[in-house]
Every structure is written in C-alpha cells, then in structure tokens.
Symmetry: C2
C-alpha cells in the first residue's frame, strides 16, 4: 500500500523524462534486485493527484519478508514524498489492478474566501460559498449504472463508457479555520478524469449556477461538452482499493 | 485571525534578514497605509511552528471595513503561505497579546514506521510505537499551577517560571494510513518552548523510556537539565486564543 504527495510528480505512470511515482518506486526496487518487471498499480493517478491507499504489486525474484522489503524501499526512496505504508505477499495470479473490485476516492474542497496555507496543494480552494445539500442531491443523481461519456476525458482508454457508481457522498467538515467539503466516490472502476469531472460539475451545482436536475441532463446527454469544468487534481486522493482477496486484511 | 504554514519562516517575529510571518503581514499592511506601527500577536511562534488561530492586531490610521482589509491583505501576501481568515474591529485598549486570557496549542505526532509524505513538515514523525495511555497519564501530571523551569527554554524571557496549565490531553486519531497522536495544551500563557518540552518529555513516556512518575520528578526538579528532548517545531500549531472580550464571537 502506497501513500504519496502527487504534487511533484507527473502522475503515477512512468515517463522517461519526468518524475513519476511508479518511477520512484521502481528506482528503489532496482537497488534491491536487478531486471525486475514493471510494477502495476490499482489506479494510475494523474499529475498532482495524491495517494492514500494506492496498491501496487511487483514480481520479485527473491523471497522477501514483507516488512524488510517495505523498510528497504522506504529507505531508498528518501527524500521523495512516497512511502510504502503496508506490504504483504500475494498469490502468483493476484494483480493489483485486475484483481481490484473497488476503488475509493476522496476530493477535498476548501470552501472559504482566504487562500489555503497549511492545505496548499492538498485541496481545491473554492471562494464562493457552496451549498452542500444541493451538491449531495446532484451527486446522488450520478449513482448507478450509466454511460458516463459526459464525465470521461477524451483521452480515456477504457473500452466502454458504461460504469457503475456505487456511492457519491458530500460531507461538510468544519475545521478550525474554515470549512471543507469532502466528496467521496466509490466504484469498481472509474473512467479517466471521471471523479474530477463529477466534482467540477457538482461545484457548479453548489454555487447555484446549475440545478441538481442539470446533473441528470448532463449525464443523459452522453456528450463530453455537457460536462462542467474539470476540477483541479490537487484536491483528489485515491484513498483505498478493495479486493475480494485482500492481502492487507488479517 | 491568522493561519500560516510555519515551514518557510524564521518564526512569527520580524527579523531584518529572514522571512517572518509578522514581516509578511506588515509588508502587506505597508501597501495599504504608510507609517503603521508594528503589529502585535497573541503568541510569538518559533521557526517552523504553524498558526491555525493566531491573533494579531494593528492600529490603522483609516477606518477599514474588516472584510475589505482582510481581502486586501490576503491579496498582497500572495504567494506566501499566510492568510487572514477573520478580521474584526476592536476597542482602542484591546491588545492581541495582553488581552488574551487563554492560548491553545495542538501537537501532532505521526506514529508509524513509514516516513511522512502528505503530512511532511506538518507532523513530528516518531517511528517506535507510543503508548498513548501512558502519555496521557504523564500529561495529567503537568496540569496545575507549577514552577515550570524544567520545561522552559534557557532563552525564555518571561518574568516568572510559574504558570497554570489548564489542560493537557492526548487523543489517538486513526487515519487512513497510520496513526496520529494529538496532544492538546491549554493555559493563560506559556513559557518559551514549554509545549515542545512537554511533548519531547511525554514521547519518552510513550516509548517506555520514562515512567509517568518520572514526569512529576522532572517537574519537581525545577531544572532545565531534567527535561526530556525538545520536540521539533513542525508538529506544533497555535490553534486558538481566548479573550474575555472576543472580537470574533458574534
């Protein structure tokens, strides 16, 4: 299980000329064994998106004690803001991406007039007051099995735009200095930019520019042009991945 | 009311050759009016210590609408991680420091083996497992009116080492990836380095190196040398200041 601050990275995915989370972990693995295959992750997060409970796997040549491997990787990744926070052995046919039965995302909106200081880079700041109840009403309209073409990046490589969204919730968190909205989404899998497209659209509802019914109209349009603005990446966290055969449970 | 990330600053207090929170706010004020006096704050936090509910005041020459002043200052402070999150007019004899009847501090310990990523710079990371109950027992022994010489920096300029600590609590917060200990302290006023000296000492108790009784022995020694290590600044937050005549209530 991997935690990272997405800020300094071009995203999860390895790129030959830019720092990536995958590249950081693979460089540390290369200090331990040679000629390892690429690692695979449950969610290939975009540039700036954070990991809280990202999961990846690697086929090691040697038998490693999970804790030893974790500590060695964390040592070699210093000072990059990437840490292995849990490790476990898995069956040969277990795959971090293909075995996953659920992905969970959190999107944090700092809803206040004053600029973010301590949360800078970790929230999307929206200055105008947002109506969380309206946003929750809009979010509920997205739950279910739909053609999500409207909320899918034109770069999306998924075979089908039909997905089942299992949950979309809006929680208001009053903090010491301001107010955060936490938007949580849960599904077996997501399309590229789906969560950020949801959030940008729901922000339009919260600000009063859209009605909750407009969300249904946008969904039914099955047209990328019907989507609200795409929310920026720095508020988004991959918080967890579910597996029927969860290597971290028990 | 001021929020700031203490990381890039040499502390609250203005220094002619280093960035400070006070200097950042005063530079923004200087864009609005000339020849202003220095601003005064409830707590002069050290280098690296964060502000969540710091309070400062300034004698302005013109009559400002609180919100206009706040927005103008926030505009001029960009991109420094300092924000005015609330502003209010006060009586001429009201003083952010001398009128304060209570200061509240939070200290965050990230208690896990893997290095902090998303929380880097905002927590003190302790790798060995800490016993929160033992720490709470140790903390309770500090509550009351005592000569706190043991927990006072040798640089402290307070007239007397006798202070009354009103509360010292330890809360365990299970987060998505790890465990945080939140230590909260409340008093009319604190000595220099008092909270960090408390936390460093309580960490010794949590790790098993000290017993809770050793905290009482250290307190009663009234000797700086009897103190545990001083905890690092990045876990410390000035979270709030209390006033009998609170400008922000109502």
């Amino acid at each position: 299980m991997v935690e990272y601050d997405g800020g300094p990275f071009s995203g999860w995915q390895w790129q030959d000329d830019q720092p990536s989370v995958q590249g950081t972990i693979e460089a540390a693995l290369a200090r331990l064994e040679s000629d390892l295959p690429r690692i695979a992750a449950a969610g290939r997060t975009d540039a700036g998106v954070h990991g809280r409970g990202q999961v990846c796997h690697c086929d090691m040549a040697r038998e490693w004690k999970a804790e030893t491997l974790m500590n060695a990787l964390n040592h070699h990744m210093r000072p990059a803001p990437v840490a292995i926070v849990a490790a476990a052995p898995v069956a040969d046919d277990w795959h971090a991406r293909f075995s996953a039965s659920e992905r969970r995302y959190l999107f944090r909106i700092l809803n206040r007039r004053a600029r973010a200081t301590l949360e800078a880079g970790h929230v999307w700041q929206v200055q105008r007051a947002l109506d969380a109840d309206r946003m929750a009403e809009g979010a509920a309209r997205l739950v279910g099995r739909y053609d999500f073409t409207t909320f899918r990046s034109t770069m999306c490589q998924a075979a089908s735009p039909v997905k089942t969204l299992d949950a979309a919730e809006v929680e208001v968190v009053e903090t010491g200095a301001g107010r955060e909205l936490h938007l949580r989404f849960r599904a077996r899998s997501f399309l590229h930019n789906q969560v950020r497209s949801f959030v940008g659209t729901l922000e339009r509802v919260g600000s009063g520019a859209w009605t909750p019914e407009d969300v249904t109209r946008a969904l039914e349009a099955r047209d990328r042009a019907a989507c609200g603005p795409v929310a920026p990446p720095q508020g988004l966290y991959l918080t967890g991945v579910g597996y029927d055969d969860d290597p971290f449970s028990g």
